[in-house]
């Protein structure tokens, strides 16, 4: 065990899989010499060679398409796209090929690859560097979408994703890369893809999110508890497939739900989660599920970032209204 940030934990998980599975190869822009723009692959090229930790030309469709071919041929590629905002040139490869080869070939060919993508805002970055378009990936049948929010989950979920026989879009919360440290085992372990994590148990209201927003709902929960409310906090961890039972059992228990995400509201995953809850637990609800989200605007530049990001205050206010309803 050692105290690791989420970034260090991902680096360790990649090292472990390179170590334990010779089929694993990493490819992406600047992941070799520099260890990637966020240093997640730091040191891996020196240790495992430029043949397994591969710097590529600037071409996202090429990176994903090549990794896809590698996966079909029996390797376990882990591709990195530098930011979610730069994943769109690869969207065609992902939805039309990566997600479909098992179906197209009736299981004869499969694509066990992982596409790692840093996402989310909060660091005052340039345009396109703060995206949270997870919904457009969660809407694709044939891929899984995984989002860790803790160092321990990061390791377990990444190793599980690399082991998974189907393709995984692995979204990494930029804001949390170095925000928290926790004890992470050096052992090889996996965290099951699918089940959500109950971060905190409570009875009056459920706060749901994933990725970097976990920090905000956690803070909101603490504030709410000071006012005497018993708050349950859920970290979805997997956005596709969604853990319907986990979501519903909490909603049924508390009867009050707030779901928070950075993505724009319209057609964001908050809508899906609200729909699941209303369909499966309407008669247990004491108030409508409330969405606290990014606005239906483009993620703004640094000076306006605070205008956009769902704040702890907004979550607390929404929760209080839901509690009073």
């Amino acid at each position: 065990m050692s105290e690791l940030t989420l970034a260090q934990s991902l680096n360790g998980a990649l090292a472990t899989s390179l170590e334990s599975d010779e089929r694993v190869v990493l490819l992406g822009e600047d992941i070799g010499r520099t260890g990637g723009v966020f240093r997640i692959t730091d040191g891996l090229r020196d240790k495992y060679g430029a043949g397994r930790v591969i710097d590529t030309p600037v071409a996202e469709s090429g990176i994903v398409g090549a990794a896809f071919g590698m996966a079909i041929a029996g390797l376990r590629p882990v591709a990195e796209i530098q930011f979610l905002g730069f994943s769109y040139p690869a969207y065609d490869q992902i939805i039309n090929h990566v997600a479909r080869i098992r179906n197209r070939s009736n299981h004869r060919f499969t694509a066990p690859l992982v596409i790692r993508i840093p996402f989310g805002g909060g660091i005052g970055a340039a345009e396109h560097h703060s995206e949270s378009t997870e919904a457009i990936y969660a809407h694709i049948p044939g891929v899984k979408v995984v989002v860790p929010s803790t160092p321990a989950d990061a390791r377990g979920l990444l190793l599980a994703s690399i082991e998974d026989p189907d393709p995984v879009v692995f979204l990494e919360p930029i804001r949390l890369y170095r925000a928290v440290k926790e004890e992470v085992s050096e052992l090889y372990y996996t965290t099951e893809i699918g089940p959500l994590r109950v971060e905190r148990e409570g009875n009056d209201i459920t706060l749901i999110s994933w990725g970097a927003m976990i920090k905000e709902i956690r803070a909101a929960a603490s504030i709410l508890e000071e006012t005497g409310a018993s708050v349950e906090v859920l970290d979805l961890r997997t956005l596709s497939p969604l853990d319907h039972e986990g979501i519903l059992s909490s909603a049924v228990k508390t009867g009050r739900v707030v779901v928070a995400h950075e993505a724009p509201r319209t057609a964001g995953l908050g809508a899906e989660i609200a729909a699941i809850i209303h369909e499966g637990a309407l008669y247990s609800l004491l108030a409508p599920v409330r969405r606290v989200t990014g606005w239906d605007t483009i993620f703004p530049l640094k000076r306006s970032e605070a205008h956009y990001l769902p704040s702890v205050d907004r979550i607390v206010m929404a929760a209080q209204e839901v509690l009073e309803a």
Partner: protein, 339 residues
């Protein structure tokens, strides 16, 4: 443009193939054309969904496939049935696919031919990844990807060529330049003198070959495959041919091309020139032709029967194909679907 056999069946140059090999290629082309005609007929009868005929391109496809090793990878398109079949895919599966059945996408375990790519452009880079994986694994398998003249305009062509070059992957890029992308003529698709010349922009060799000359195609593809297999890297081959039929059964070529052009290409027919060559060499007879056609027809009929004998696909199979292990939401939805 590299070529070996003239349209009149005379040989331009020493033929690097034996008479037996030429007879084999001819027989394969006859079988392929029989399949193509059968599919056009079946589509008219409503037994197939839209079909993309390859008549006129038999030499490019059979020639290329004949130059591969049985364990090489192939990633082709909706128009590459002859190529895929010659590489081991199976007519019955190709037909099943065209009836609208996903089970047609699964060739036998030992056959490394991907189901046809319906999107234009996306699959070329797959062949780069396939070949790259083989070299990382230390095998000497190569990957061939086949695509059209139109596909060279997609960004993915560029990324695939560049990756193949930069990472020296054993990939053979085979462009079947059949003159059109649906209605859009090659002359407008790009201003480069040839498609082969595009290879230079990636520091790769490119060669233009008479795509209606099965011996020439077989020769250049074998050469390219050998180089790739020896670690010599990828290359681009432009097989110049012509799509004799419509783009698909939904297309009307009368809207965009003068059928006189097609007639001119008839004289460059890929089968005819080999028949004339074999005839001159005493390797062809009407009886043998008869024999080939009968055998081809029987094989295709058997394949049709096999494809059409597949049981109705079920809802459960549709759900089951999404992941190795069905997800929770899929299991719930399957119940909702009444299964």
């Amino acid at each position: 443009m590299f070529s070996l056999i003239n349209p009149d069946g005379t040989v331009r140059d020493r033929l690097p193939l034996t008479l037996e090999e030429m007879r084999g290629l001819y027989a394969d082309m006859v079988e392929a054309r029989t399949y193509d005609h059968k599919c056009m007929a079946m589509q008219r009868q409503g037994r197939l969904a839209t079909y993309a005929p390859f008549e006129g391109q038999e030499a490019a496809q059979i020639g290329a496939a004949s130059a591969l090793r049985p364990d090489d990878w192939v990633a082709g398109t909706y128009r590459d049935a002859a190529l895929m079949w010659r590489a081991g895919y199976g007519w019955h599966l190709l037909i099943a696919g065209r009836t609208g059945d996903e089970r047609g996408g699964a060739p036998p375990e030992e056959v490394n031919v991907l189901p046809p790519s319906i999107t234009v452009g996306g699959h070329m880079i797959h062949a780069v990844g396939l070949a790259w994986a083989e070299s990382l694994k230390g095998t000497d398998r190569i990957a061939l990807t086949s695509f059209g003249d139109g596909a060279t305009s997609e960004g993915d062509f560029h990324e695939a060529m560049n990756f193949a070059a930069v990472f020296n992957t054993p990939t053979v890029f085979l462009c079947q330049n059949n003159g059109f992308a649906i209605s859009y003529p090659r002359s407008e698709q790009t201003l480069s003198e040839s498609i082969a010349i595009k290879a230079e922009g990636y520091g790769l060799p490119g060669v233009q070959v008479d795509g209606n000359d099965v011996a020439a195609v077989a020769t250049v593809v074998r050469e390219a495959a050998d180089v790739a297999r020896r670690g010599g890297g990828p290359s681009l081959i432009e097989a110049v041919t012509y799509r004799m039929g419509p783009h698909t059964t939904a297309d009307d070529p009368g809207r965009y091309r003068d059928e006189g052009e097609a007639e001119e290409w008839r004289e460059r027919d890929p089968l005819q020139r080999v028949r004339l060559l074999l005839e001159r060499a005493g390797g062809w007879s009407p009886e043998w032709q008869e024999e080939l056609e009968v055998r081809a027809t029987n094989r295709i009929e058997d394949a049709v029967a096999e494809a059409e004998a597949l049981p109705e696909p079920t809802v459960a199979e549709m759900f089951g194909r999404m992941y190795e292990v069905p997800t929770g939401p899929l299991r719930e939805q399957l119940k909702e679907a009444g299964q």
